[in-house]
């Protein structure tokens, strides 16, 4: 593997739990609790998991939108875990995020042109006619008409707003884009448009993506490698084909089995998964998945499994495999 663009090691991000009445710390949410992965340049990594798995927190921790509790994050060969804000600033241009709901991140009182010009102005890279040209270029890149610059966010549909969000993320030519559920709020037909756009841009601009999603279909379509998270940890990761067609972790299997297929009669044999995802404030001991795991053993309740290499970059953290 080439020198990774981003390397995350032992990442932990914990939040205090405060009681409502007393505002006293009554516990800790271990939103991310020991995550390791690396992303090579030009690669698309998918992080999948259900709500509470910590996938969004991983994304925000990488960008230091949330300060991680422990572990290290290296970007372009540089440890950025504890960089002061001033030094983080130029790096922010290199790593961008695209959110699920672009509406909430677009200032409703600014035209699209102003919104797209802002990154250039903040980082002082362009002004005047050059700025205009750059904005026009961005609009063209994401497939929006040039006159969009004069309009306001509310005049656009969800799909178009997401295009604006992507254009803004691309403004400063980042090397890494983190997409946090970028297509989840969109209708299927629009979702396809945005996925195609993301894929095209990746090819044209040589971008690296981390795509955070709960939608396995989306992840399967766009990602090279996939990491499956459960309660703050990566339970299985590996190349897309291995993960989807040769899953090793019972949770990955169950997840895949639960995905409904748009082909009547093609229903897979369900892996019965009882109960709910436990609260990350109070995860079960041992393997966090064991209370719901159909193949749990006595050992699983006591000992947390360590990640095991299965070859070809396929890693699984389960007592059924390896150690």
């Amino acid at each position: 593997m080439a020198e990774p663009l981003l390397e995350v090691a032992g990442l932990k991000t914990h939040f205090p739990v405060l009681s409502k009445l007393l505002r006293r710390r009554v516990g800790t949410v271990k939103a991310v609790d020991g995550v390791d992965f690396a992303v090579a340049p030009g690669e698309v990594l998918g992080i999948v998991g259900e709500s509470g798995s910590g996938k969004t927190t991983v994304g925000k921790s990488i960008l230091r939108l949330i300060q991680p509790t422990e572990g290290s994050i290296s970007f372009e060969g540089r440890d950025i875990t504890n960089l002061p804000a001033a030094e983080m600033m130029p790096l922010r241009a290199r790593m961008q995020i695209v959110f699920q709901d672009p509406m909430s991140s677009l200032n409703p009182r600014m035209t699209i042109g102003r919104i797209l010009a802002a990154p250039f102005e903040i980082h002082g890279v362009a002004k005047g006619q050059e700025l205009q040209d750059r904005v026009a270029g961005l609009l063209g890149l994401v497939g929006l008409p040039e006159d969009a610059a004069q309009r306001y966010p509310h005049e656009f549909s969800g799909g178009q707003r997401q295009r604006v969000g992507i254009a803004r993320a691309l403004a400063l030519r980042p090397s890494l884009i983190i997409g946090d559920e970028p297509v989840s709020a969109l209708d299927v037909s629009i979702q396809a448009q945005i996925l195609n756009l993301l894929k095209r841009l990746q090819g044209e601009l040589g971008l690296t993506y981390i795509l955070i999603s709960h939608n396995l279909g989306v992840v399967s379509h766009i990602c090279d490698r996939v990491a499956v998270m459960y309660l703050g940890r990566v339970v299985e990761s590996g190349p897309r084909e291995a993960l989807f067609f040769n899953p090793k972790h019972p949770y990955t299997e169950a997840l895949l089995a639960a995905v409904p297929m748009p082909e009547p009669g093609m229903r897979r044999a369900r892996v019965p998964l009882g109960g709910d995802v436990p609260s990350p404030a109070n995860p079960p001991p041992g393997c966090a998945f064991h209370p719901r795991c159909p193949r749990a053993m006595a050992r699983c309740a006591i000992e947390a499994p360590v990640p095991t290499q299965l070859g070809d970059g396929h890693v699984v953290a389960c007592h059924l495999h390896g150690g």
Partner: protein
């Protein structure tokens, strides 16, 4: 073929806007048969949720205005019922569950009391009887330790558990029709599977007909017997699930099916997409509403709006140039 328990005829929902009215749902006709699941599928703005609220007469009026030739439920036209008569039906014969289990339960009331309410209201049970029945219902929808769970408040339950509670409430009085509006959209995929399985089981048990409203074709494929596809306030295609998914007649249905990203071993370089976007209500083109996005549209499509026309195998399609036809 089983007889229809619910039949809507030319159902429409309009909104007053400055300078006129805009039709958000227009001429929707369908029937729901005993014990079957009819999937009503469409993207946002297609009018599927408005249709369901209109059936329940839960639309807020004003601003919404309901119109229909008839909505016949168990032999009675709902349009002719007083609000009191309608209230007698709701929760008893005709129930509904909603998309957001997080907000659809009253946060200040124990879940037990919230299930008790329709039992007391419709079946005239005493508080104790109702509670016993509620606990049985909680057990039936798969909530462990039901008598304890009945004492809990919604915020103490997970999303999946809350949706189970919603189902318990809706099915408490054994209704003949359940309207389920995006019942699993807010849930995680493993929980979605559980809830869909539960709905199916309960349907088998109670013979309840389900109108399943969703944007997710995969959910329809797994759950529904028949499906109606809505676009821009109208039904564009109906038919049995297997046939419709195998050979979609309407170009919109076809495009929709193809644009779903699937887990395939060898992935397509590019997802087929439907260009453009759904027109806003009030800005519908003169002809077929889908024509501007349709690869097969010709002058006729732009000129005149197609109506639902019968096709083979009990199917219907509203298209001048149906596919596979």
């Amino acid at each position: 073929m089983a007889e229809a328990v619910l039949r809507a005829e030319k159902l429409g929902v309009a909104f007053r806007i400055p300078g006129g009215r805009t039709k958000a749902v227009d001429g929707v006709t369908f029937e729901l048969r005993h014990g079957e699941t009819l999937g009503l599928v469409g993207e946002s703005g297609s009018g599927k949720t408005l249709t369901s609220l209109a059936l329940m007469r839960l639309l807020e009026s004003p601003p919404a205005e309901l119109s229909a030739d008839s909505i016949v439920f168990e032999g009675r036209d709902l349009l002719g019922l007083s609000e009191a008569e309608m209230a007698d039906l709701r929760g008893a014969r005709l129930s509904m569950i909603f998309q957001e289990p997080m907000t659809s339960l009253n946060p200040l009331m124990t879940v037990g009391r919230q299930i008790d309410e329709p039992l007391v209201r419709h079946l005239g049970l005493s508080a104790a009887e109702a509670r016993a029945r509620s606990e049985a219902l909680l057990a039936r929808v798969g909530i462990p330790r039901p008598s304890e769970a009945a004492q809990r408040y919604p915020h103490q339950l997970s999303g999946g558990m809350r949706q189970r509670v919603m189902i318990a409430i809706a099915l408490a009085c054994r209704p003949s029709v359940l309207v389920a509006d995006e019942p699993t959209t807010a849930l995680d995929v493993t929980i979605q599977a559980q809830i869909l399985d539960l709905l199916r089981e309960l349907q088998d048990e109670l013979g309840t007909a389900i109108l399943l409203i969703t944007h997710d074709l995969a959910v329809i494929a797994e759950t529904a017997h028949r499906v109606a596809v809505m676009y821009a306030g109208r039904i564009v295609e109906t038919g049995p699930v297997a046939a419709l998914f195998a050979t979609p007649l309407h170009p919109y249905t076809e495009g929709l099916l193809r644009s779903i990203p699937r887990i395939t071993r060898i992935r397509e370089a590019e997802l087929p997409e439907i260009p453009g976007m759904v027109p806003a209500p009030g800005q519908l083109p003169a002809g077929c509403a889908f024509a501007p996005r349709c690869a097969f549209a010709d002058a006729a499509c732009h000129a005149e709006r197609p109506t639902l026309m019968p096709a083979e195998g009990g199917r219907e399609v509203a298209c001048w140039k149906p596919r596979h036809g």
